[in-house]
Amino acid sequence: MATDTGRGFDGDELRAGLGLDDPRRLLRGAAGVVGFVVVWHLVSLTQPAYVLPPPTAVADAFAGEFASGTMTTALWSSVRHWIPGTVVGTTLGVAAGVAFSWSGLLDDVTAPLVRTLRPVPPLALIGFAIAWFGINDAGAAFIIAVGAFWINFYASYGAVEGVSEDLLDVGRTLGVSGDLDMVRSVVLPASLPGIMTGVRTGLGRCWMLVVASEIFGVPGVGREILRASNNLLVDTVIAYILVLSLMFLLVDVAFRAVQRRVLVWRA
């Protein structure tokens, strides 16, 4: 069955990336974190705070930003960019990837466009974001959506391409007729592992894009990072980077749980 679908996208290797289900791995992971913080602390003793602040300063900054409410406000604002950007970009990316990959005609028509637009980094579209949406949540969400779109477009495109011709043949002999029925009954389920890997990659990438999407003045975690950077408040920068990491982790763990449940037939 592994030969049939989504070869190369293996959920097992991703499973327990954190080692949450294995106490020994959890312990080793904790040791790694503690070791890193100790080394960081030692190195920071030799450097001025604007080059590398000590972990304690970061903890203070974290607590301060949190207590003042700045952090919660910024995070909430970023979530309001991330959710619509990710949802819209992912939905359109998967839909276009599946459709263009399945339909030779659509593929032929769109291939030159796709190849032209693909190399454009989302950040280069800031002008359009401002012109079309303004300096607001929608503009930031647009940047994130563009990033999510391409990741999901290519993952889905490849996953559909990888669907075994033999499964399609079986479908045909069992009465599947028409593109819609074939896509729904065979192509989508067969390519789902690959599609979900793309979605998962996109979810993470979109947290990175949050920073970029707020570069032009929309409030959020990214905006706070840029503001702190401009003031050389490196401890605050790191505190907000930690916020992004935590959000990424939270989303990733949750999505992995969903993925495992949906793809129970593969494990």
Binding site: D169, V170, T173, L174, P189, L192, A267
Partner: protein, 268 residues
């Protein structure tokens, strides 16, 4: 599609229209270089309820012919008729079983078996009953909620057979279905297939490269020759079932077919 076709009783004098026939089937592939003639003027008929094997050396176009009969590939010349009607594409009047099973890995055993039924006009209760029947037929009732990944090769092929039979096709068309399982499982599956054939009365066209397998199973064997793929001879297997490999008549048939396809015995 006829419901519970009467072919069970009609094996000897079956209605002339209930089987499958290839009539002058030819296939030419236009490659980069010269066109390749894969099949040339292949004609034979399988009567309703009959069990016919198609054997031949590798490269004789067995798989191409299988795909043409299944409606998955177009013939360049001639036509295939199922119950008198030309085959123009895949049809649920044919249950197709492939060598590598090709179960839908995201569906459980019962969902795989029920896949074709979902597209029929049967009621849900009927579909469920049919799935139950099929699972009983192949002895997998205890594995109905299992996913294919947990099944052995032999079990997967049983599911594939049940899936193909579920829509009650007129013809069971099989391409080296037991080629991927070990010898012991193969013999068991052969016996089971004969049981299924006897109890359902389906017409079976079974492609194999294994001469002994063909002699074990078939009423008649269509022996093919290569370059271009064509029918060398149609051999009647008049050996009583159940056939034993030690039986001299069995051995004679095997030798005869092997001679026709030019296979050395040790190559089987």
């Amino acid at each position: 599609m006829t419901e519970d076709d009467p072919a069970t009783g009609g094996r000897a004098g079956g209605a002339p229209d209930s089987g499958v026939a290839a009539d002058g089937v030819g296939k030419t592939y236009d490659g980069d270089g010269d066109p390749v003639r894969a099949l040339d003027d292949v004609s034979f008929a399988v009567d309703g309820g009959e069990f016919v094997c198609l054997v031949g050396p590798s490269g004789c176009g067995k798989t191409t012919l299988f795909r043409i009969i299944a409606g998955l590939t177009d013939a360049t010349d001639g036509e295939v008729r199922l119950a008198g009607t030309p085959v123009t594409g895949p049809t649920t009047d044919m249950g197709v079983v492939f060598q590598e099973y090709h179960l839908f890995p995201w569906l459980t055993v019962e969902e795989n078996v029920g896949f074709g039924l979902e597209r029929s006009d049967r009621s849900e209760a009927e579909r469920e009953r049919r799935v139950d029947e099929m699972l009983d037929l192949v002895g997998l009732a205890d594995f109905r909620t299992t996913y294919p990944k947990s099944l052995s090769g032999g079990m997967k092929q049983r599911v594939a057979i049940a899936r193909a039979l579920a829509v009650d096709p007129e013809l069971l068309l099989m391409d080296e279905p037991f080629g991927a399982v070990d010898a012991q499982t193969r013999e068991m599956l052969q016996r089971e297939l004969l049981d299924v054939w006897t109890s359902t009365g389906k017409t079976v066209l079974f492609v194999t490269h294994d001469v002994a397998e063909a002699v074990t199973l078939a009423d008649r064997i269509v022996v093919m020759a290569a370059e271009p793929g064509r029918v060398a001879e149609v051999v009647d297997v008049d050996v009583d079932r159940t056939r034993e490999r030690g039986d001299p008549a069995f051995g004679e048939h095997v030798s005869h077919v092997r001679e026709l396809i030019g296979a050395r015995p040790e190559l089987d």
